[in-house]
């Protein structure tokens, strides 16, 4: 059953953005890979993260929502077929591009984790709010706005820094690791069962007696 499940999850996932992002990332690193710059890897991470955002799009969400397989599990399977290849590609690009020092490599890994995490968080929330279960379209623009917004504060205090910043790689490492954690937390929260709110609201209102079933008119058949 698991193989079938994975196969169907892969086939129902929107893959074209990830393929597009992978192509663009590879081209950018190929063109600039002898410049010794971290920038192509940063662009690749952001592009792949934008592509991963589409993985949560589910046009048949309404049909699947009533199944016993939880939303988190359904989403996890979609990510299982998209996230590992994206991470593997980015790691390969990191190896190809190379870094001058280990701190730089760690900071770039943190950056990749951060944008992937943010992408999941944004996609999770957007897919939940979208009438067609399609949140991917919001991810890349939202990442774009976050990056611009981040660049408007002084370099040292940028929450999502790109390139070299005063304070060095550890500064970048901390900011992006925080973004990764935040993104994954938001994703987990957005993947709660849509009917979860019942528990909270009903608990708040419990204490009174149950109102008896009423019929305004006509007869009511017995449960049989």
């Amino acid at each position: 059953m698991r193989t079938d499940h994975l196969r169907y999850a892969a086939r129902s996932t929107t893959l074209s953005p990830i393929v597009l992002a992978a192509s663009v990332s590879t081209v950018i690193v190929a063109v600039r890979h002898d410049h010794g710059s971290a920038l192509p890897l940063q662009v690749a991470a952001i592009a792949l993260a934008g592509g991963i955002g589409f993985a949560l799009d589910d046009p048949a969400f309404e049909v699947m929502a009533a199944s016993p397989t939880s939303l988190l599990r359904r989403r996890a399977l979609r990510l299982l077929v998209t996230l590992p290849p994206a991470v593997a590609l980015w790691a390969a690009l990191l190896g190809w591009q190379g870094t001058e020092e280990i701190e730089e490599a760690l900071a770039l890994v943190a950056l990749a984790a951060g944008v992937f995490g943010l992408s999941l968080g944004i996609a999770g929330v957007a897919a939940r709010r979208s009438p067609h279960g399609s949140g991917g379209v919001a991810v890349a623009p939202a990442l774009f706005v976050l990056l611009i917004a981040s660049s408007t504060v002084p370099p040292r205090w940028r929450p999502l820094p790109l390139g070299d910043v005063p304070g060095g790689w550890p500064q970048i490492y901390a900011g992006w690791t925080g973004a990764a954690v935040l993104g994954v937390l938001v994703f987990a929260l957005s993947s709660r069962d849509p009917a979860t709110a019942i528990a909270r609201r009903v608990r708040m209102r419990r204490g009174g007696s149950i109102v008896p079933t009423s019929s305004l008119s006509g007869s009511r058949p017995s449960p049989g």
Binding site: M1, H5, A199, V202, R203
Partner: protein
């Protein structure tokens, strides 16, 4: 005492400033219960809440004796629930068989051959066996509705939630649907939301009329039709005092409301009763606004 398969107690739901459901309390047992109401009455909201897709703002919902407020009980309910949404989405590149098979996997049908048998049975029940291996994007609108119905029928669900199941079906398929739903061997609790009063008359043992988020009527289809008895009349010209009136094919006008003295009273049917109820509700709400 055995619990009702579907029990809603004081359920309310708002979308911004619009109250979609207003303290709805109802129970439904095995057999087919029709849910009738004008657009925006709250039918789909009610269906989605009972189908465990949406949480109510207030109130409690119990299905098959399970409290939907509890996560593990909700999962148990979903194993025994079939849901056909009003606007089902599809994976266009899947075949009809693959689509229903995927739903079967998500319904935790573990044995592959038994699952495939169940998928074939469901597709056969809705008359899609011949196009089982055609891609969804190649199916007509009516076939897609039947595909959505097929996935809901999977695994002999104990509770079936069918939201506008006959919309877009041709007359033959509509008859076939009625036959199918009314002859389900294990007699599940079926909640059937529809605009088609013919469907209600043909298959429902009980009908609930919803308007403005509240239950306006709960009883048998015959009892619903009776509520309009003596309140339907026919005249040559349109009578402005009527709640609703419309021109018939013979050129005369059929009216519902409070008939004037000496009016020719006509036999009421479920359409008249429903229109009377919906019209009165609209007038009441209009006056209140």
């Amino acid at each position: 005492m055995e619990p009702w398969p579907i029990e809603l107690t004081e359920v309310s739901k708002r979308y911004g400033g619009v109250r979609a459901l207003d303290h709805v309390t109802l129970s439904a047992g095995p057999g087919i219960t029709g849910l009738l109401g004008p657009n925006g009455a709250g039918k789909t909201t009610l269906m989605r809440i009972v189908a465990t897709v949406l949480a109510p703002d207030e109130g409690s919902v119990r299905l098959l004796g399970h409290d939907l407020a509890r996560a593990h009980e909700r999962v148990e309910v979903r194993r025994r629930l079939g849901y056909m949404p009003q606007e089902p989405g599809f994976y266009q590149q899947f075949t009809a068989f693959e689509f229903v098979d995927y739903v079967a996997i998500l319904k935790e049908m573990k044995d592959r051959s038994a699952r495939h048998d169940a998928v074939r049975r469901a597709l056969g029940a809705v008359g899609l066996e011949d196009v089982a291996h055609r891609k969804v994007k190649g199916l007509s609108g009516g076939m897609r509705r039947r595909l959505a119905l097929a996935q809901a029928l999977l695994g002999d669900a104990d509770v079936l939630m069918l939201d506008e199941p006959t919309a877009g079906l041709d007359p033959e398929q509509r008859l076939r649907f009625r036959e199918l739903v009314s002859q389900l061997p294990h007699r599940p609790a079926v909640l059937l939301s529809t605009h088609q009063t013919e469907d209600i008359t043909a298959v429902c043992e009980r009908v609930i009329v919803l308007a403005g988020g509240r239950i306006r009527f709960d009883g048998s289809p015959a009892a619903l039709a009776e509520t309009a008895t003596g309140r339907v009349w026919v005249e040559q010209d349109r009578n402005e005092q009527a709640v609703l009136s419309w021109r018939m094919s013979d050129g005369r006008h059929r009216h519902i409301g409070d008939p004037p003295a000496g009016a020719t009273i006509a036999e009421a049917n479920i359409d008249d009763a429903y229109l009377l109820m919906a019209g009165v509700t609209a007038q009441t709400q209009g006056a209140a606004a």
